[in-house]
């Protein structure tokens, strides 16, 4: 089964970031068909848990469950509101607490919302380099929605194009990167010793 996790960093209720995330999730679900499981997670209820993680170094049970979903996901939809010309602090904190290497090779669809279309390059100036650094595979189309875009036919086209790109990428993901589970299948110690002596 293909698993997609859609993450919304929207804060208000109702939230246009959540609305965009839902539209992206629905479009990806439509492309992948009934075998895919597409789940949406909001970061707002995790805000305290995220701050605590920064301070204690470990996730509480609730946050750990979400991070585990990130690990298991075949693809991610990551959507943030634009705050001060970039992703929000909450969105970045969620990325910051991920284990190193968690996103390597993982297909990611990026999205952002803002009150004005003058922020639209945030996708390419802030989100795309962030996920490039984490060695995620970012789909070519990012979806930006200013308030006015919710009344515009072009948004739907971009949502569908981006969703299609993510759907086609997740199919081949397993070949891109496999993280060894050192708990289930530990690297034999003799191999590690040998690795140092050569």
């Amino acid at each position: 089964m293909t698993r997609i996790l859609a993450v919304s960093a929207g804060l208000s209720v109702p939230s246009s970031t959540r609305l965009l995330t839902e539209r992206l999730a629905d479009a990806v679900r439509a492309d992948l068909g009934p075998d895919a499981e597409v789940e949406l997670v909001e970061l707002r209820p995790l805000a305290h848990a995220l701050a605590d993680h920064l301070l204690t170094g470990f996730p509480n049970a609730e946050l750990e469950e979400v991070l585990e979903k990130v690990r298991l996901a075949d693809g991610l939809i990551m959507v943030t509101p634009v705050f001060s010309a970039s992703f929000s602090g909450l969105f970045k904190t969620f990325v910051d607490v991920m284990e190193p290497g968690l996103l390597i090779g993982k297909p990611v669809l990026i999205g952002a919302t803002a009150g004005t279309s003058r922020h639209s390059l945030v996708l390419d100036h802030a989100l795309r380099p962030l996920f490039a650094y984490l060695r995620a595979v970012v789909v070519p189309t990012g979806v930006f929605a200013a308030t006015e875009d919710f009344g515009d036919h072009g948004l739907e086209q971009r949502v569908e194009r981006a969703a299609g790109e993510l759907a086609s990428l997740v199919g081949g993901r397993r070949a891109l990167h496999v993280v060894r589970d050192e708990f289930a299948d530990p690297t034999p110690f003799a191999d590690r010793l040998r690795g140092l002596s050569t």
Binding site: L54, T56, F189, A190, L196
Partner: protein
Amino acid sequence: MQFGIFTVGDVTTDPTTGRTPTEHERIKAQVQIAKKAEEVGLDVVAVGQHHNPPFVASSPTTTMAYIAAQTERILLSTSTTLITTTDPVRIAEDYGTLQHLADGRMDLMMGRGNTGPVYPWFGKDIREGINLAIENYALLHRLWREDVVDWEGKFRTPLQGFTATPRPLDGVPPFVWHGSIRSPEIAEQAAYYGDGFFHNHIFWPSSHTRQMVALYRRRFEHYGHGRADQAIVGLGGQFFMRRNSQDAVREFRPYFDNAPVYGHGPSLEDFTSQTPLTVGSPQEVLERTLGFREYVGDYQRQLFLVDHAGLPVKTVLEQLDLLGEILPDLRAGMAEGRPAHVPDGPTHAGLVAARDAAAVTGAAEEVSA
């Protein structure tokens, strides 16, 4: 089963008075606390190793030797010895000397340390942390077991015809624990050598402790050192006790809220439910501690962190008195239902006896063959 205390040797301001102990006071307090630990019947006291303020624990073997000279029974250990940035030759020599001075009343726990700049200060690269722990320990292991060592590795200058002196007391090297909170490679390392594995257990939820210990036990058996339930497991823990539960919470809260590691984060209530921290009556601490076995199995060593977060020495000593009071019940509880084949906590006498028994068995096999 051994019970004891471990410290990181931090100098922290008491948040209720604003007073910060001097380094001198803190170092002397560690000795006072260790002597008290022996007095109340504890088995182990472990000191830390750090090379930066606010810690005073840069020279563990000096502190351990001093404590050893002032005590008679308690076993000295570390929490931890930095195997990454300390030359393994110096570890072999320092702890080898300590083993003789303390008549075998010592062991040590390997750790990697977590303060980034300490690595470059000692000429190392933090990105090689795991590899340093692996290579340095491989050398230490040989230095204590082979009289003359030829060695070449990636991180240290080579050795030709080197003999680490003094040779181990009675020809038996100090027992070694490997401590790690979340690196499966270290559990694997401990299992490979048949050494002990210690989980700090105090900053993380029990699910992580369970996962690390389970891996260590499984691999201990895989490498032929015995059954999984015979692997040597140690756990950390922390508590704050008063006769009355509410008094404990009231008194400890400001220390918790301002603690260097988790302060200003989750509430005391959240943290006590998420981690093994217990703040309450002696009976509550007793019950919680006896529950640790449920997720790690019968184990060998339980160490508690009692002197931290700026708690005054007087309070720490009171905590030890209370721990001493529940100690008989802790021992009885841990002994209950414990299978006979589960080993006791490691001691020098035990290791010597095991070595001699193996030699007799080996000789008998030779005769019969």
